[in-house]
Symmetry: C2
Subunit: 380 residues, 2 copies
């Protein structure tokens, strides 16, 4: 969808014109009352569900939407009942206007000159998309992690356009530790000699070293200590790769190397870093982590989250996961408390899951069951 | 101290000759029974206590030993009673033989060719130093974090040369998450174009970008989420730096920048990274984190820590800190259990401190009091 009228941003800058990539699933009903907006987190896109087919009609391998466990026909967010919209945020790198694209005002690739965007800016852009789609009110706005922050922001910026907000594994703002991890990742990217101040496109290089480090750090914070120990423990890569040559229980010898892969966890992280550096834009990484840092709806009201949520009118489902140390259950409880202080209708589920922050993307029967039950009560 | 006879290493390699830098405090008694060996962690040295004076007798600013709160006249480890030895480990960069020095066999700076050293290798080298000093048996071997691993290793490799082991904020091995953080830090260093495969010395450059990232990651893991929120929270750097210009409570505006420092925590981490990159050797960082990864005294006995500690004869004081998520209290309890399974004499203190892993270096009255009481019972 192309937008030809300028979008004013929180920073004071504005985007004179921009595109938003989006996908829809299911059918908008005659009353236009069954729309569900899905907001994405750091490295995801508008492709929230389903599988792509190529020109010859064949299924494209590994093209499942990032929340395909959650969204689809007969799934917890049932596209037989709801009209689901996935939208790629401004500044991202999956089709919507972002740093990899050309600034119409200069004819140059934006790069580091792409304006800093915030959760509020994304919500404003999403609201314009809904205007164009003829949707006045959302049945549900929903997201996990940074997507949950967008859902929260929707209930504050457009309180009368949201009937329900489903906020999973999210937080009312980042802690100092959260910001710290983002900053280390950003410094790895910015100090990569191939970053060229964010204008690497014109040099024909990509700051892949920095992106790899950023992604490795991210992955550590997405997983729990428990699940890392269970999946990888102190297992040596050599022991996994080699055919067994000795009696059961024989130990693979250490390589005694500081630079080669020794442990399985190292192999996993390097692989994740390599994959990410192939497809993700470095400037987008900076922008999206900064949007996380800046989100703080209580900031303008002296840090009083209850005061901030006085504006909200939606009903809420909040979900957190016990082993999520990035956005811990305590953070979701802060939101629940602020909403209860305002006599809002809040359901809160704390799921005992071992997978850390990643749990919000995984197939967990209790988690999916709770979302399913909640959506069954939403009148489309 | 120069050693002219080869030290065989766990890896199968050996060091043909080497130097160890060490300092001593207090006086060895006639019975040679009051020696305390202090083992250091990642970035510390043999300078464990006291302050240096320059040639004119003036105190050198900021030259306090890294455990000066713990060690000195009248302090918990009382140098009026004990003969305390601090030693810089092989592979480090504070005077003992390491990657920055010349390999006598090639006449070249070791760089990445310095052999991989382990906790066990360090302990063997320390034992030779004690031989030279005429000390058959240690009253106490003591260390925090990686230093605690050396103390544990002493009780297993030289069970009859250690009467007491004081093991603070340590672990019987690293978890997958611990290894993961080490690996990201190492990758940041190794993939810095100025690393040159570890032979950067001959190129006249230092891989400072990588060292900065490594140190920033390290610092996050040394602090607790709580203390980070208390010290830094979401405080803006601008708000700290600027003179107050508005009414109390007025908010400094965001800069809306992805590359400039915005939050105070970012400024702190960048400063720590910059400082570290000025003085610490990149190859040493790789070696010492690898020694951490490899330490696993139960590895050769099927992972059974109780079986591993069957060899130990010392008495033990174990100390952990409630908010230490790098080496959590649960890890110290694993050690305590293994020792109790062997009817060893173990005291265990879990200190309720907000400072995370860093607590072992800080001035905490309860912590220092417990160490003091323990040492008062040690017969010198």
């Amino acid at each position: 969808m192309h937008f030809g009228h300028a979008l004013p941003l929180q920073s004071g800058a504005s985007l004179s014109a921009y595109d938003l990539s989006y996908e829809t699933y299911g059918t908008l009903n005659a009353e236009r009352s069954n729309a569900v907006l899905i907001c994405h987190a750091l490295n995801a896109s508008h492709h929230v569900a389903g599988v792509y087919r190529d020109a010859s009609g064949e299924l494209v391998p590994r093209s499942e939407g990032w929340w395909d466990t959650m969204i689809g026909p007969g799934k917890p967010v049932d596209t037989d009942r709801f009209f689901v919209i996935g939208v790629n945020n401004l500044g991202s790198c999956f089709g919507s206007t972002g740093p990899m694209q050309t600034d119409p005002q200069t004819g140059q690739i934006y790069g580091a000159d792409f304006p800093v965007v915030t959760v509020e800016d994304w919500v404003d852009a999403q609201a314009r998309l809904l205007d164009e789609l003829g949707i006045a009110t959302l049945a549900v706005v929903m997201g996990g992690s940074l997507g949950g922050m967008q859902a929260l922001s929707w209930t504050l910026r457009y309180p009368n356009r949201v009937r329900h907000a489903v906020v999973v594994a999210s937080a009312p703002n980042l802690t100092a530790e959260n910001i710290a991890f983002n900053e280390v990742a950003r410094r790895a990217i910015v100090t990569d000699p191939d970053f060229h101040g964010g204008h690497f496109y014109r040099h024909g290089v990509l700051p892949k070293r920095g992106l790899r480090i950023a992604r490795m750090i991210g992955h550590i914070t997405y997983l729990s200590d428990d699940v890392m120990n269970e999946k990888f423990g102190r297992q040596l890569r050599r022991a996994v790769a080699a055919a067994p040559t000795g009696p059961a229980g024989e130990l693979a010898p250490y390589k005694f190397s500081t630079q080669e892969v020794e442990f399985e966890i190292e192999s996993y992280l390097r692989h994740q870093g390599d994959k990410f550096a192939e497809y993700f834009d470095a400037n987008t990484y900076l922008l999206i982590t900064r949007a996380l840092d800046y989100f703080d709806p209580a900031r303008d009201v002296g840090g009083d989250l209850s005061l901030a949520f006085a504006k909200a009118r939606a009903k809420f489902l909040l979900v957190s996961f016990t082993t999520d140390w990035r956005f811990s259950p305590a953070r979701s409880r802060e939101i629940a408390k602020a909403l209860l202080d305002n006599q809002r209708d809040v359901s809160y589920a704390e799921i005992d899951a071992p997978h850390g922050h990643d749990a919000f993307l995984l197939d967990d029967a209790r988690y999916l069951g709770i979302v399913r039950s909640y959506f069954e009560k939403v009148v489309g």
